[in-house]
């Protein structure tokens, strides 16, 4: 499923472009010679909670800036909520709430005054309900008690919450949240997750970027993975997860016959020292690993076959590939940020 072209979503042929909250074609942003975003074709279905993953510097924020019309694309097209961006921003942006590269506020104004200010910038935001909307938005992110405090005196997590409050000042069809849990305590992180769930329950499409996979995995229905400006995978969470191979690992002193039995079941038995399945000696026993692949073999059947084949099974593990493994496999193991 690597960087598939936009269009019908896999497994759902009825889905048309009109069902996409965000759609890009060949979206590219170059800073000098470096392509920060390189020919990406995003397809974010309406109603989804879409995780936008990628390590530091992979181009997530740059993509979001282009989606919101803050930065112009070097090439490629963008449709957000069915309208062309940035040319139709008047129609699109009032329906979009956003948190881009962290919250930003006037430090000398209170939290409420800041929200008030940003709300006046939206010509479609009714002034009659402004005060009420500000108060409720603050309450929703747990800042009601700090509403009158100068933002300069807010903690990082409080600013982050205020940023989210700004994104939900009005009912939105689409939320774009760039690292919304950055700087939040575990409690705050959980609350943001439940907030996203409840907003999604109201029908809002949520596009949320993160480099913390564990956060995303729990709430997202879909995800895309960026790596050095390229979109290396996109699909539903299950599709992404199933990219990982299910493997079995047998601990036995009868290595040769175990290999024969596994092979006869159709499993691809790993040769010695394959990347993820080396044979390791442990006392008298050895391990053999094999990929189940696309076969529909049940674990208990494998064990039964091994035992029937005279293999003394001293250990048996089924390893479902985790999303984390996928993430690392797609984006590389290295710690260094790609320049």
């Amino acid at each position: 499923m690597s960087a598939e072209p936009p269009g019908p979503w896999p497994g759902d042929v009825t889905r048309s472009a009109g069902d996409l909250a965000i759609e890009t074609r060949g979206l590219t942003k170059r800073f000098g010679h470096q392509a920060a975003v390189d020919q990406i074709d995003l397809a974010v279905p309406r109603g989804s909670v879409f995780g936008f993953l990628g390590p530091n510097g992979s181009g997530k924020t740059t993509t979001i800036r282009m989606l919101l019309g803050l930065a112009s694309a070097s090439s490629g097209q963008i449709r957000v909520l069915g309208s062309e961006m940035p040319s139709e921003f008047h129609d699109v942006l009032p329906r979009v709430g956003a948190l881009v590269e962290g919250p930003a506020f006037y430090p000398f104004l209170s939290g409420a005054a800041n929200l008030h200010r940003l709300d006046t910038a939206d010509r479609q935001a009714p002034s009659a309900t402004r005060d009420a909307r500000v108060a409720e938005s603050l309450e929703r992110v747990g800042l009601a008690h700090a509403a009158g405090k100068r933002v300069g005196a807010y903690s990082l997590g409080m600013k982050q919450r205020l940023g989210i409050a700004n994104a939900i000042l009005r009912p939105r069809e689409l939320l774009m949240l760039d690292e919304p849990t950055n700087g939040l305590d575990p409690q705050g992180t959980r609350e943001v997750r439940s907030l996203i769930r409840s907003l999604s329950g109201d029908g809002t499409t949520v596009f949320v970027s993160s480099h913390l996979l564990a956060e995303i995995e729990q709430i997202c229905t879909h995800a895309a993975v960026m790596s050095t400006g390229r979109l290396v995978a996109q699909g539903t969470i299950d599709q992404l997860r199933s990219r990982g191979e299910t493997r079995v690992r047998v601990r036995t002193p009868d290595l040769p016959s175990a290999r024969v039995v596994l092979g006869s079941l159709g499993l691809s038995v790993d040769e010695v020292a394959r990347e993820r399945g080396e044979q390791i000696r442990s006392g008298e026993d050895e391990f053999v690993t094999a990929a189940v692949g696309v076969l529909d073999v049940r674990a208990e059947d494998i064990v039964a076959a091994l035992v029937a084949g005279g293999v003394r099974v001293r250990g048996f593990v089924v390893d479902e590939g985790s999303l984390e493994d996928q993430f690392v496999a797609l984006t590389g193991e290295g710690f260094d940020v790609a320049g």
């Binding site: 000398f108 008030h116 200010r117 910038a121 010509r123 009714p126 009659a128 609350e191």
Partner: protein, 301 residues
């Protein structure tokens, strides 16, 4: 965030209720007055703005107190224009204070406000949120410029009003003798003072447009402020060089001290008109440059 999921749901429900009544896709576009009011309220909720206005108010106060304390009846002819008239008529404190403020203090404060317009938002990071709201780039630019222009009015008024106040308090006020030798009464002199205020305000509009343009070039507000202020000094230095006579009518500071023409009988309107035209030219040119720059610019701050 509410502490429990239950509270969260309640909050959600309440909010949705409010939203349902408050908005709809049938958008009623406001003219953008709310953003302008908000712009002014942000400007005047900054301590910096009040510090600058206080500094401007200090100019006439210092002048008046200095003249009063030294009690100089000497008509030395030195010092700023109109200084000698203060002891006879307190209203001249305001006029003298303007003469003193125009070369540096007023351009300084206007440079700070105009240079901060876009660059200040960029450095706070609020520019991206204003644009995403969406404020609209053209609309934001206009609101920012009108806000800076409103500050020009305010800054000039502070000097004049403080000048009149302290002048009335410390000195006698009588008929004003004009440059042309004619004499006018108190109310007529107030009208003249207001005209002078308008003249000085208009004089500063070109500089504001330059500041706005420079502000779109950078994310560092101090840089934009400094550049604007330096330009106002450069313009005055060029204006003082007789070798550059041909250039003088094109300098935005050319008419800065010509408001004295409003103290003649009859009023010499030529400089008022010429100044207004010149400043309009600067607004058009630098407004267009700011528009060109800001409309295509990537907001990456």
């Amino acid at each position: 965030m509410p502490d429990s999921a239950g509270e969260l749901d309640k909050a959600t429900a309440r909010q949705s209720g409010n939203w349902a009544t408050g908005t709809g896709r049938v958008a009623r576009h406001s003219v953008g007055l709310a953003l302008f009011v908000s712009e002014l309220s942000v400007l005047y909720r900054r301590r910096r703005t009040w510090a600058m206005l206080a500094a401007l108010a200090a100019v006439p106060i210092l002048i008046a107190v200095a003249v009063r304390v030294t009690n100089s009846t000497r008509q030395s002819g030195r010092g700023p224009q109109f200084l000698d008239q203060i002891t006879q008529n307190g209203l001249f404190v305001a006029v003298t204070a303007l003469v003193v403020s125009i070369p540096l203090f007023l351009p300084l404060t206007v440079g700070v406000v105009a240079g901060d317009t876009i660059a200040g938002e960029a450095s706070h990071g609020t520019l991206r949120y204003l644009l995403v709201a969406p404020a609209g780039r053209v609309r934001l630019l206009i609101v920012k410029y009108v806000g800076a222009a409103a500050f020009c009015v305010c800054a000039t008024l502070v000097v004049v009003v403080t000048g009149v106040g302290i002048g009335l308090a410390l000195f006698p006020v009588g008929p004003v003798t004009l440059l042309s030798g004619d004499t006018i009464g108190f109310s007529e002199s107030i009208v003249r003072l207001l005209l002078i205020t308008a003249f000085v305000t208009v004089s500063l509009l070109g500089l504001s447009a330059i500041g706005l343009f420079i502000s779109t070039l950078t994310d560092v507000p101090v840089g934009a402020m400094a550049a604007t202020i330096v330009l106002s000094v450069v313009s005055q230095v060029l204006g003082a060089l007789p070798q550059l006579d041909w250039l003088h009518p094109w300098l935005f500071s050319h008419y800065w001290l010509s408001f004295a023409d409003l103290l003649r009988q009859p009023i010499a309107w030529e400089s008022f008109g010429a100044n207004a035209l010149l400043q309009l030219g600067y607004i058009a040119v630098f407004g267009a440059l700011a528009y060109g720059r800001f409309l295509t610019r990537d907001v990456l701050s």
